[in-house]
Subunit: 247 residues, 2 copies
Amino acid sequence: MPKQRYRITVAYDGTAYAGWQIQPKDETVQSVLERALQKMCGSRTRLHGSGRTDQGVHARGQVAHFDADITVPVSKIPIVLNTLIPSDIRVLSARKAVSDFHARRSTTAKEYRYFIWNAPMIDPFERLYCTHVRRPLDISAMRCAAKAFVGRHNFRAFTANPKTDVPSHTRNIFHLRISRSGPKICISVKGDGFLYKMVRSMVGYLLRVGAGEVSAGSVGAVISSARRTADVPTAPSSGLFLWKVWY
Amino acid sequence: MPKQRYRITVAYDGTAYAGWQIQPKDETVQSVLERALQKMCGSRTRLHGSGRTDQGVHARGQVAHFDADITVPVSKIPIVLNTLIPSDIRVLSARKAVSDFHARRSTTAKEYRYFIWNAPMIDPFERLYCTHVRRPLDISAMRCAAKAFVGRHNFRAFTANPKTDVPSHTRNIFHLRISRSGPKICISVKGDGFLYKMVRSMVGYLLRVGAGEVSAGSVGAVISSARRTADVPTAPSSGLFLWKVWY
């Protein structure tokens, strides 16, 4: 009898983990979940995520799939798995998926949110979930610059490994919105896919715009250059959340 | 020349510390701050807090005083100290105080807030700052019970060390308010002072009321008994915040 495919949605505080993907030595979110799956399923069970998140990156809505032949009712899967893992990772929901569903290949869109604490002093309770930027940021200039990212572009200038052999550096960005509530700034970006460290590179450049180091109008030329240079810094990982994945 | 007395307000995430007060082996908030004061002042400088907070308890507005003969302008004291301490502790403000100001003895009131995450699953980002209660809580019953705590009472039944030689177990509670926003419940309690583990004991009993284990009307009799029994559990430390101190 073929195994059933299951799809789970997972939230995690990435502070304690060396990212999503299994590493030989360091603890990762995938490692923790696969150990729990092995206990629940009675045999080694591979978990496929929608994509990797780097060390220190958080998730509100990571999606993953696995195949299993189990008697646990699907509604009980989150309860069973959550008793087997630490509380900084929570399986939010589980459902049965069709056999050709694939957490990575079937995605149609992803949303990331990046949080910035823009004040002279960081709130100690936000330190692990926001990037602290002391100097005042010009949100209007950042919003103006953000417009240039929206649409279908070659994002080679905004990936950390431009030499990596990926088939294409073209991605379609559906929106890039910047909102502010007191000292907390949220940058929400949704697209059909993202290159390695692409969100953190876009945010890194937007922070330079906000600080007045580069003009809001310069984004287009950087995109067109299709070359990653030191002009584009990578923003720290702790402010980044994988927010939602669409299929 | 006599030293100047300074008053500072401090916020801290208590997760990593063995409470406020200096301990021989474990790292505490007071230890961290006194090491920073020694560097800033050039000599050992004692810091007097408004009161101890236990291991894992947080603070939004702890107040403390110290005496020093320094050239650092008072407005720069938070900046200097914050560069010398980890980001889970932040000196929010500093001001000069009169020589008879005492962070503990001069208090006129304190407010604590206790946070509860009341849902089947805890948000992984709230796990260190809320107590997780899975079973639904009857907020109306808890509010009704809370009324009996308000006013001047002997709180011997709600302290963890009833045999401790304190001059009096009588305290005046000004308010005890319970609010709910989605799964997050906040219990705010303000009084002229609190006995050892008194807030956590009051919350522990209120949680039993909310779960229907004991009646809302039973608080008065427990207070009157002036005896600590197993009927009053101590709620976990991680949901507790020292919120504000008045002088």
